[in-house]
Amino acid sequence: MAAPIVAATGIHKHFGALHVLKNVDLLVAERELVFVIGPSGSGKSTLLRCLNRLEEPSGGSIIVDGIDMLARSTDINKARQRIGMVFQQFNLYPHMTALGNVMLALRKVQGKDKTEAEARARAALARVDLADRAEHFPGQLSGGQQQRVAIARAIALEPRVMLFDEPTSALDPELVGGVLQAMRELRESGMTMVVVSHEMAFARAAADRVVFMADGQVVEQGPPASVFGNPQHERTRAFIGQIERH
């Protein structure tokens, strides 16, 4: 494996007395798509949120694109531009149009002037197939469209890595397809992606590697064919059996 673009090693996270991440390692190579699965409460979302320090790890080290995310000297706001994040609940700003949502960080973080920010924002919206919805407010868009705007908001900053935190869990089934399509195109363009999700079919088709977590630890990982087809651990087998039955 080439030098990883994301190197999280020995991550611990405590919430009070709760030990939700226990010495977790996660290495992601450039252009790799890593799928993180596991039962709820396994710590997979927390791990993802540690990577851009929305959650402060209690211990360990996180290097993303050569930047030590946990170092005091690191400008976290600068570092976060290289890590896009998409949330389960979209978290679009309801008082701004789709275009405004995408433009905000371009202008206020990257300091682009209005014309350039708008051009980039429109290009990002076009990439998720929403060029014609730029002037709509989130409340006027379907859940699937909102999530694609959220993807555009993240990719407009030209991140090196994209994090997806259960991007389709809050969507009605018929709206999932559009979001997965946007993710697939992103993948084809060579984006490095870490995805926490239950979309097993998507994982099988698109993931390079599947990481199975349980009880705050990585239990098993490997190519989707082997993790899904021939799981080595009892817990993995149980979990996959349960998912497949649905």
């Binding site: 929305l54 706001n77 609940q89 978290n91 679009l92 700003y93 008082h95 905000l104 973080v109 409340g139």
Partner: protein, 226 residues
Amino acid sequence: MTSWDRFTDSFFNARVAAEYLPKIIDGFWLTIALALCIIATGLTAGLALAVIRSFSIRPLNWLIIFVVDLFRALPPLVIIALLYFGLPSAGLTMDGFTATWLSLSFVLMAFTEEIFWAGITAVPRGQWEAARSTGLGFLPTLGHVVLPQAIRMTIPPLTNRTIAITKGTALGSVVAVSEILGAAQAGVSFSFNPTPLTLGALAYVVLFVPVVIFGRWIETRFAWKR
């Protein structure tokens, strides 16, 4: 004289009305000036306190909460009395206008802080996280993402509270401010006729009925929809 004539002669006496109308109109403008001063200082100070509170600096927050509680618990007239009648015994004099303006500004500040703070905390955590994940710092997130949503939510309660507190300008009459009520009361005691009070009440209706209706409109216009 029939009793109806006596009634109209008392409350709608044209001669008295003509004589005291200019004074009431002066009072009308003074009430507006006082109200605008209170709104400007009260809202600004309240917003500033809410923003400071969002920095979560413990001792500072306790102080803010105490000050807010204090001015929510004290009757405005008591604060006015303290400033106007109390300060002179400490060698400081303050005119009635200043005392009323300061007192009601404190009260509006307290309610504004409370309402803005509630608005800020009502903005979902995901909004902070989304903004921070794109590299926006604390202050830009507060300014561009959180406050616009918080202010929008707080417009209806804030409008109603502001109206209620600016109506307190009438309390100025107790400390010799010749706003509408003060001017009307002076008129009554000079003319021995209550017509100036009728005029005063009318002046308040002219001033505040549109404001109250505006408050109603705001309430439906900005009803919770997200």
